[in-house]
Symmetry: C2
Subunit: 107 residues, 2 copies
DNA sequence: AATATGTATGTAAAATTTCGAATATTTAAA
DNA sequence: TTTAAATATTCGAAATTTTACATACATATT
């Protein structure tokens, strides 16, 4: 594998790492509906604002979300329309896996 | 967020965790070309077969790869065609990020 | 100016992941 | 049966991530 490909896969792995957490997947899902500030998100997630803020920072460092400051509040939103597509492609794989083993779960 | 959605996001996060590692992304990329056994993959990856085997196990537990045993060798392959799509959707997000920050991105 | 609100961060502990080396297991070949 | 090859696993250590709590910081309100 060429060095360029390894570098590319490093970028990929970094994005995937940022997404590979239940709370952060939930954040992405909420931000698909609408932008939210930290307090709103922390209530939706049932997490402290401190924890929420840290998870938002991970997503921001990965370039997956953006922030707009308004006074003391910071409103977060998805950085691009392509981000939900990642979750959708994951859903497709989950569906296929489920169908593959579905026979074992039937009575 | 409904309990069902949290459960769904847990499944998603588990798939993403399995992929969120440089070596494992490289494994997926190689398996797009062809099935490989552990020794072949470990040479391609320049990793020990022990490490390679462990990463393969993580991918297998997540249902992303399958194995076929032939004598002492075990041949691994992608469990579904949908898996490369996950990487492609990640690539799209990377491209958009790079364009946003005006950094050259080679296809 | 004092206070309250929203957000971020320092720090340490807990939890999880990754690794390296050694060892075990299975099967094929000698 | 003995040896070799391929793969998997055990174990402890190192590295990374996540959390909890306290605190800091900026800004708005009284």
């Amino acid at each position: 594998m060429a060095n360029d490909d390894v570098a590319k896969n490093e970028l990929r792995a970094n994005i995937l790492k940022a997404l590979a957490n239940l709370t952060r997947v939930c954040i992405i899902e909420h931000l698909q509906d609408s932008p939210y500030n930290v307090t709103e998100l922390s209530k939706l997630l049932k997490e402290s604002s401190s924890i929420t803020s840290r998870h938002l920072n991970v997503l921001k460092q990965a370039g997956l979300i953006e922030q707009e400051k308004r006074g003391t509040t910071v409103i977060y939103s998805l950085a691009s329309d392509g981000i939900p597509d990642i979750l959708h492609s994951v859903d497709e794989v989950i569906k296929i896996n489920y169908e593959k083993y579905r026979v074992f779960f039937r009575e």
